[in-house]
Symmetry: D4
Subunit: 226 residues, 8 copies
């Protein structure tokens, strides 16, 4: 399945995929492998090609049960269990700080994904967990420490209130991540998504449900952009 | 159209309707006329029959342009413009207090409906308006005054966050009213409705979108219930 | 994973969570652990911290297969199989009565959750099961016994009719709980939820689909509130 | 616009339409004109062709403001204002009885449409109005009179409960008509539609929202069918 | 769990359920057990009580893997594998005929359920399968044989077209059953449901998605009704 | 508002728009103006620029009340009232035939739009109207005349059945256009859209609701493509 | 279960199905077995009947684990693992070319189904994979090779952008296939479906989500149609 | 209605509203008046209070017909007709540049709102209009000029493709604004919203449908943030 790699105007055609080897130059962000639904062969082929080109490769949504097999074929790869990410190589530290907050402990996997991707991209990450609005004092206690971040990734499921409250407290751009945590009328994250899009607090950028990676990507672009 | 009224086992059959003259005894709450979509003839017939039976009649969702005509045919009726309610006669004061809060000024018509119905039912109403979460200090400034109410009706559109925050601050039962205020992904109140149903703060009772009357009815039953 | 517990202005930071130790004082209701989606480690850490603080801890939505492991690590904990709740310690009896009704036998798990939480919070619970509207005489037979409750939790799936009928028969505040019982156009509880929100009987407070716990929390606040 | 009518194997081609002149023979039910969205020219052409063929023509959803102009061009046509139907000629009486019930007075236009179409098709119609479940005694008072009907058309908006209760009380087939009466989570009749489809009372046939005509057509087919 | 059975005004209270022993008298249709989601204990208790009362008991949606255990505890019960129904005893033959048609072979389980329930209720059933509109000649070939039925149950998934075509060909009342057959935009039966509700052919009664039982119940009421 | 037009690599920048003057060469189809929601100034500027470049300009969804003003400023433009299209100049006849069918007379505006656009693009159009499935004989009577078309545009609202039936009768590619005709569960065309997407007859290409223009564009590409 | 086959006016009645043996003559496309949800017995019976009639049989959505059993009973059948298709016999080559493009590697199963069905129907297939819009140069690099195809099947999940971009670059008719690839707000293919239906590039025919087979059927009809 | 203004811990209570006079200090962004649905009295009171406090006031979604009356009462206020914004006073220039792109000319009102708000907040705005993906060369022609912006606000309706394409071409953070432009399956902006949330191009922050103001607020926070 692994056809010989060939550079053709900015991409590497490996048969089943055309890897975008030019992406970092254009967008400031390397191509990252979304592992869910891909075969181990496809993951290995893509990560290998990315690592060969740039000395760095990252995959998200990696199923834990596939990890031993993948690591055996991808020497030096390391797995972050909470974040479900697989990483090869490293990028330079940027010196920037990004905050990652989550409302409940059930939101941790999404927050972990965002935090690990940001770390992989070279940023320093400051965390707050279980600071939902049912007990506001948990958020306010040490909020000042977050005011120097370049961006705040705020993760919440259920009613998705936390980004609205945070955005009312800071100049730092807020990136809201709805999660599928909840049941019934939470509708797998729709309640939180709609709440974040309809927030009365202006200036919130929303990403897809459970999309910790996308939030990290936007935070990265904001952090490096100026 | 107005057939002679006749009492038949707890209702008055006026032809187009069977008025539930037994409702206050059974439920603690008189039948109230939902005027939207009813003809002036129907509103007059129903309110007259209710007033004749009990010395009290109340209608909600009354269109302002129909009010002069209605008042001409319903002697002594008074109209509350903000709440869009029409009232004849009065009920005894209960001595109970209920709070009515709303997140934004656009939520005022719904909050006004709740407040006016509660007043008509004999309760003292304490109001807070424009205390949405984008500026939390506006809510916290004088929150303690609300702690002695029998119930808090909390009205919010857009992302519908306010009831979650309020419920985390008080023992008083919170009745959440989503409003159709907002646009786009607020979906005419659906975002707020889902947020309130999915709240991480336990013990919130939710009513229909823009249903200030229903919130007042529940608050009334709670207030008189013990 | 279990960092040393430290009191900081009303919460206990145990690393993965900030436990709201101040919640009973503020809201009249202790923090309760929503076990679904949490790891056993997280459940044990949270319940232990709650129990250590207050002599009482309660978890809902506990998976039966995890119970033996949990009980081994939480001495004295007891499991209610129907309600899927895990309890440590007890609270004082309140002397109040709350009714819990359900329309069909498939709604029993949700009704059981509501009843067990109410019992844990110190209330006396009166039950009625399988009293759906397809055979109204089953409800009416001994309804009078419910008229002295402080609140009625009414659980129904499918078309969700029961709360409307009950609310037309009593002064007691009705808390409606839609369940995901049904198929096709019942849409996992949406049909019942919409019916309850749109009820022609005023004064019903609705909670999330299958949310027996939330209904109990609201009934508790109403019962103790006056 | 009115091309000469020509019979071609069971239909009359009048240019803009192919009128199904064979429909009564095949289905027991004549073609009826759905006037909403049609131009007066189209309504006149179609009703004229139907009347010329069979001595009977019926239109539903006729806008009141178009009626004078239509009647001027359709000699002998009569308009039922409540039902918004326009009728030419008559059909033989069938001797069958059909019941038409509605939950609230706002549901009357839909119930009137059903009743008028049934009358036009030759049936005797027995009515009950404003017998919603918030006051069950209004329904039960004289329910026995309905037990001899061939079918019961039960019209309800908001939570759409009435058909479930009725179907639990009778052997007569129940045809449920959800209406768009209500607001917010009633979603223009969706709440009532879903409730009726999900009813715990078996043997209810549901038609489209506000479709009084369709309910009458089904009742007609049931009544004449045996 | 099985409390002693006790007759109280038309129902038998067996603890977890109140069995409606009066239902056949009121509605012409015995109570039938919806087995999905019920425990074997509950199924056995309910069927035993029903059989003891009337000499007949029927359950639908019975999981095949539970059947051996159920039959061991319910002597004389028989299982229909295609229809997933479990039956004890029998009812008198009615002498009526009902047709059951389905569009595709994947719709057979739902059509089988309808047909078996009708058979259990004493009717003669005429079947047509795989007569969808992509090849209309398959339906038209022997359609005349269906014209003497008391009702036609028409089952279809995907785009749900068949009831519209059938209703245009016959005087017999059509009961439409959407199925969850299909994928993507068929949305688990929603496409078929909406199509059936919106049919241009008047006089179709629609039941819930996959609800073969409900269709049979309505056909039964129509068949016996006159 | 009309800035001087300037050719820049395949487009004409007129300030408020960049007109794609290269589109016919690339796609075989000229840019067409979607007039809905555009100001008269914008319509005039865009059509003038298109006409100046190619001697042909076409606009769809033109509001009738704006037509006199537009024609005054666009010399030689002609308006088709049924189709709501405005046309300047002409294209060469192609010699190809395309069929346009619609289920009901209320679908005519959409069918007219498709037919007029096809005519403007140079094709011969064969029409059939009011041939819905409630009376199949109306469709089958002269269906053979359509078998030589290059494509069949089939327009239907309500349950959207017609394309499935047509596609089962011909080798000609079928392009299905759902319309917003209907009410209630037709959901402004969603019922028809889902039915067409879920059709059991393979090989149907679906376009947006009421999108007669898009159907014509696809038919055009198919007709010229070979 | 396999009743003797009998030809009756264009179909073969095999008991559980009426096989449409006339379909190729009418529609240019043989009946194809949709295997999902069918029993192995039904698949074998149907494919055998089709093969016996025409020397060709094709099934889609075949579960890999059922293949060995099926092949054992269907001599000569071959399975395409990527496309999940099972084929017996062959059809003549048509000499036409159809393009099949997909946006991401996760869309490959759907693209493979389309490509294999087209190959089975006798067409030459040109493929492009992983050419999504996040790196447009991958699509543009060798796009000219696709300009001679009779149709382009464009497969995309997530935001479903690719067909819009492709349709802006070519005269060849574009058939858009949304896939269920994605998560959260992709809603199992709804985001892509809506985007394709709402495309600003005219002339795109959309098929159901994941419906590679339907896209191939439409491409086939277009290819042979002229 | 205008109660005397009073400063209480960071807000001015004017009776119907509590104006957040502390917002610029906390969030870097002044409170802006959302005029839709507010009475002229409320708009005047709020803008006057804001202007009195800070020398600057801005309102969005101002109805053109209310503008003369508002300007008469708000001396010095100026109205931007395209953007529907009303402005009093000014803020210091920031020296930063933000890009505002839109896909079609119908998206201009939303793009104008974003651009005007950014201008009011002191930024230099670079515009591109009508650069949708049906003609990609219109976007690529002078894209390089946008690479130095601090953020790109990308506005698109219909299928909402443009942000995905733009984000694949630049390091600058992309803020995507879906618009309600389109019809049918565009669902008032839902198609575009879902497409943007599901984009295959990482690092896009999405705001509510038609929310040009929110996009500007986020761009502002990003621009000033570093």
């Amino acid at each position: 399945m692994k056809a010989p790699t060939r550079e053709q105007g900015g991409f590497a055609d490996i048969g089943l995929a055309r890897i975008d080897t030019d992406r970092t130059r254009r967008t400031g962000m390397p191509e990252v492998v979304f592992a869910a639904g891909k075969t181990p062969d496809a993951i290995v082929a893509t990560m290998s090609a990315l690592y060969a080109t740039s000395g760095f490769a990252l995959a998200t949504r990696v199923l834990p049960e596939t990890v031993p097999g993948l690591i055996a074929r991808l020497p030096g790869a390391t797995f972050n269990e909470g974040a479900r990410t697989l990483r090869m190589g490293s990028l330079a530290r940027t010196g920037h700080t990004v905050g990652v907050l989550c409302a409940g402990t059930s939101d941790l996997p999404v927050a972990d994904e965002a935090a690990d991707v940001l770390d992989a991209l070279g940023h320093t990450v400051v965390r707050r967990s279980d600071v939902g609005v049912a007990g506001l004092h948990r958020l306010l206690a040490d909020f000042a420490d977050l005011q120097d971040a370049r961006a705040l990734v705020v993760v919440a499921g259920m009613e998705g209130t936390l980004p609205s409250v945070v955005a009312g407290l800071t100049r730092v751009p807020v990136i809201a991540v709805p999660t599928s945590v909840g049941y019934g009328a939470a509708f797998e994250g729709i309640a939180a998504l709609l709440a974040m899009l309809s927030s009365c607090a202006p200036g919130i950028g929303v990403v897809n449900i459970d999309n910790g990676f996308g939030a990290a990507a936007l935070a990265h672009k904001i952090a490096i952009g100026s």
